[in-house]
């Protein structure tokens, strides 16, 4: 139970309209895109850094758990208030403070939706590269806290590569700023990087300085099919190995392609054992050259069909097919368990086979989709959580998939994070000392452990 006085004081900071405490409203903040739930006691919507600071001061005095939230699209349960307490939702703190294309940066508040930033940058001929599949609804604050990536991160890198600086409110309410507006800056520790992927366990991010890039002159997209999955993966390794860096290199296995086609009728090659969706961008001539080189590699690896999108519409259709994967699998059953393990790109064929074998063993359907260029794989298992027996098999399958990834020198998460979903697997890829070191850092900034308790640190 939270001290009633503390609640009154917290409410005073944001006012009645920006405070939720009814059972109905709280029920809307007990979930994110993961499948577990936990009720908060209070949801607050700060609009300024000072309000955030004031709230944390009270919470630290009364040792009230505080869980930050952007749009609640975390797939690992990072934004679920596992220990109750306050949910600090940043959705109303969503101003784009400055866009400076001359100096290539933008300053945003954490609640800015990724796609809104893209929309604001486009008229200047600029963009912000990290493009998670959730970009239409997820917030920059959430992207930073999860160190989000997306298809084009193969060429452009993930969120951490674009955060120049930030303002953070620590558990005590103290405000600290680090980094700067400069694309080059090696002044001291790169603290902003520490906060990328911290999942709201180290502090509340209240302002972010992001690097932005000029939009490429042209973009080309190819859909390639193979009649052998190993060849598909070998082609990926060959392309990367030859020093070609496409924007995106997305792989889908047979089950994934067939499932999409069956449900969505987009005209995908259902006979293919593997497909690659490849995108290159840059100066027009360079793009053409790159496509030529890529085509050579594809042909050498036995590609059956290579289709280049001729119009923007065709390009959109191909990406639509790729983006509909999640939805199509979600439709197959009440609960969709999806993971995002990473293995070295060359290990993708082996890992794919391991995933399929594990799923077979537990009599589960599995679709494999991968941001193949960087070895980031999304096995998706549609199942029914309310069917206890089936869910136990799903759980076992994922235990084994995690262990398999670790055995191939891979890791637990490429973009979705650890949250509630993968804490128990941490020791598979991090040794005791490293885990302890994270604890030391956490203790230094949040000695009472009020920030997002119940998560990985």
């Amino acid at each position: 139970m939270i001290d009633p006085d503390a609640i009154d004081n917290l409410k005073k900071i944001v006012g009645k309209d920006r405070c939720f405490d009814s059972a109905e409203q709280l029920a809307c903040y007990c979930y994110d895109a993961y499948f577990e739930e936990a009720m908060p006691d209070l949801v607050l919507f700060p609009c300024t850094r000072d309000e955030v600071s004031g709230i944390l001061k009270i919470c630290s005095i009364h040792k009230i758990p505080v869980t930050a939230r952007g749009a609640g699209t975390s797939l690992c349960g990072a934004s679920i208030p596992a220990k109750g307490g306050v949910v600090l939702c940043f959705s109303k703190m969503n101003r784009i403070v400055e866009i400076n294309t001359k100096d290539r940066y933008a300053i945003v508040e954490p609640g800015v939706v990724n796609a809104d930033l893209q929309k604001a940058l486009a008229p200047f001929g600029f963009f912000y590269p990290p493009d998670p599949g959730s970009m239409a609804m997820s917030t920059i604050g959430g992207n930073v806290a999860q160190n989000a990536g997306g298809p084009r991160c193969l060429k452009y890198g993930v969120t951490v590569d674009y955060v120049l600086g930030m303002e953070v409110v620590l558990a005590s309410g103290k405000v600290v700023r680090f980094g700067s507006r400069n694309v080059k800056d090696v002044t001291g520790y790169r603290l902003s990087s520490l906060f990328c992927g911290s999942e709201g366990t180290l502090g509340m991010v209240t302002s972010i300085i992001l690097k932005v890039l000029p939009l490429p002159e042209s973009v080309s997209t190819l859909l390639v099919t193979f009649d052998d999955l190993d060849n598909t993966a070998k082609a990926v390794a060959d392309i990367i190995g030859a020093g070609i860096l496409p924007v995106a290199l997305e792989l889908m296995d047979k089950t994934t392609i067939r499932t999409i086609e069956e449900k969505a009728h987009i005209g995908l090659p259902v006979d293919a054992e593997g497909t690659l969706l490849i995108e290159v961008d840059g100066v027009k001539e360079a793009c053409e050259k790159e496509i030529k080189k890529i085509t050579e590699k594809l042909e050498a690896n036995g590609a059956v069909n290579i289709e280049v999108a001729k119009t923007e519409d065709e390009r959109e259709t191909l990406w639509h097919a790729r983006r509909s994967v999640y939805g199509v699998f979600a439709k197959l059953s009440p609960s969709l368990y999806t993971e995002d393990i990473v293995v070295p790109a060359g290990k993708i064929p082996e890992m794919t086979r391991m995933i399929v074998d594990i799923a077979d063993k537990y009599k589960l359907l599995v679709g494999v989709m991968a941001h193949a260029g960087d070895g980031n794989m999304h096995p998706m298992i549609p199942a029914d959580k309310s069917n206890k027996e089936e869910w136990a098999r799903v759980k076992k399958a994922f235990d084994e998939i995690m262990a398999a990834a670790a055995s191939l020198n891979g890791t637990l998460s490429g973009e979705h994070g650890i949250g509630l979903a993968k804490t128990e697997y941490l020791p598979l890829v991090m040794d005791e000392d490293a885990i302890e070191f994270m604890g030391v850092i956490k203790k230094a900034v949040d000695p009472d452990g009020i920030l997002n308790p119940g998560k990985f640190v």
């Binding site: 895109a33 699209t73 999640y326 979600a330 009440p334």
Partner: protein, 424 residues
């Protein structure tokens, strides 16, 4: 367990990206997935019935954008309607909304109310009209009721000037269509009605306006009046399911969606004449789609001066009709129309049936953004198919705005050779 109306929501959040109430309020309770969560919690007895719950469920524009994007295939409007019914049963509804449900159940009542409203509009002193609001809309911005119901006026007009309307262009002789006018055209926007009539007759189409037609029933359904809708469906099917009708023309996307999607489903639920509902549904087509499919270039010769036009796409057209792009197709096809798309052309206007009246603050926020973006196009006409969108958007355009909201048919009618400038 979720009930049988849709699958489980996996909370992916895609629906947040299209939901106008979530975007306006910025809080999860205003989102589609939260409403689904609460409905599930309610059916699992994790929360009880309450005014608050009713408010959260009803504070929705019923635009259907969430269902359109949802990868899990949840039919949100269907689940919301059921939940609204339960909540209204438990907690009642505002008296004004209850009277609306009462009125719309019988044509004679609608007619009487419209007459009374017209009288009131005439006698309300100017100062009041300046000052007072209907929900979020200033009274003086509210459209004036038709002098006589359009269907009556049309019958007289058609009797006076039978058949041929225009010189020069030979009639196409497409066939016979029934025109479902909807309440809005019948009582508020006769200009739309006359435009539709003129266009169809100019194209050589024989138009029948069934006399006994009545409100499509959707507003009642959205306000807990499921039972009341039965007789409206029966009445409308009886007059629209006639021999020799090639198409049922609608000018309002909500009526269109009702006849096309809801009637077959409701007919099945209520054990009404399902075959008739299917036959009618098959023939329903909105006027822009009909024009695009059957008109010839010579039907709409070039206007002498260029008109700058922008467009607002109604949610019920986008999310419930088979060819939502037809009005824009029409704008592009009309020689002499310069179509300038607005930034948020396809986002909700915030009108939502009675939403603008029930939740004026939210509605105003949504509409103001639309108005700013439409003004930015520099257009003089703001075309939209839906009468509620027209009321709502028009409600925010004061005299200083050089922008008028019209139905696509009204714009197209300006291009008819003999009818240019006809006032409705």
């Amino acid at each position: 367990m979720a009930d049988s109306y849709g699958q489980n929501c996996n909370k992916c959040g895609f629906c947040l990206s299209v939901c106008p109430t979530y975007q306006a309020q910025g809080t999860e309770d205003a989102s589609p997935r939260a409403r689904i969560q609460l409905i599930d919690f309610f059916s699992d007895h994790k929360i009880g019935s309450s005014e608050k719950l009713k408010d959260i469920i009803s504070k929705c524009l019923m635009c259907g954008s969430c269902a359109n994007i949802c990868p899990a295939g949840i039919n949100h409007p269907e689940r919301y309607v059921r939940m609204r019914e339960k909540m209204i049963r438990d907690h009642g509804d505002r008296p004004e909304i209850k009277s609306l449900v009462y009125l719309l159940a019988k044509e004679s009542r609608i007619r009487m109310a419209a007459g009374a409203a017209r009288m009131a509009q005439k006698i309300v002193p100017h100062v009041f009209a300046e000052k007072y609001r209907l929900g979020s809309i200033a009274l003086k911005q509210f459209p004036v009721f038709n002098k006589v119901p359009f269907r009556t006026a049309a019958r007289k007009a058609m009797a006076r000037k039978p058949g041929k309307k225009s010189k020069g262009v030979p009639a196409l002789k497409y066939g016979r269509v029934a025109y479902f006018t909807g309440c809005a055209t019948n009582y508020l926007f006769e200009d739309t009605g006359f435009a539709v009539l003129d266009i169809l007759r100019h194209m050589g189409v024989e138009v029948i306006i069934p006399e006994t037609q009545t409100c499509c029933g959707i507003p009642m359904l959205f306000h807990g009046g499921r039972e009341n809708v039965k007789s409206n469906i029966n009445t409308n099917l009886a007059c629209l399911d006639a021999q020799g009708i090639d198409a049922v023309i609608v000018d309002c996307p909500t009526c269109g969606a009702a006849l096309k999607n809801d009637y077959p489903a409701l007919a099945e639920e209520f054990g009404l004449d399902q075959d008739a509902a299917n036959r009618v549904a098959e023939k329903v087509v909105d006027i822009s789609t009909f024009i695009m499919a059957h008109a010839r270039p010579q039907d709409f010769p070039q206007n002498h001066e260029t008109i700058r036009v922008t467009y607002h796409q109604p949610c019920h057209l986008r999310n419930h009709m088979p060819s939502p792009g037809s009005a824009q197709g029409l704008l592009n096809a009309l020689q002499g129309v310069e179509y300038i798309p607005a930034l948020d052309m396809d986002s909700c206007c915030g009108g939502g049936g009675t939403f603008f009246y029930e939740y004026p603050e939210v509605s105003r926020g949504i509409a103001n953004k639309k108005v700013t973006n439409a003004k930015a196009t520099g257009a003089n006409l703001w075309v939209t198919d839906c009468p509620v969108c027209r009321i709502n958007l028009g409600g925010y355009l004061d005299d200083s705005a050089d922008l008028t909201v019209v139905h696509p048919a009204r714009l197209a009618a300006q291009f008819l050779p003999d009818l240019k400038g006809r006032k409705g």
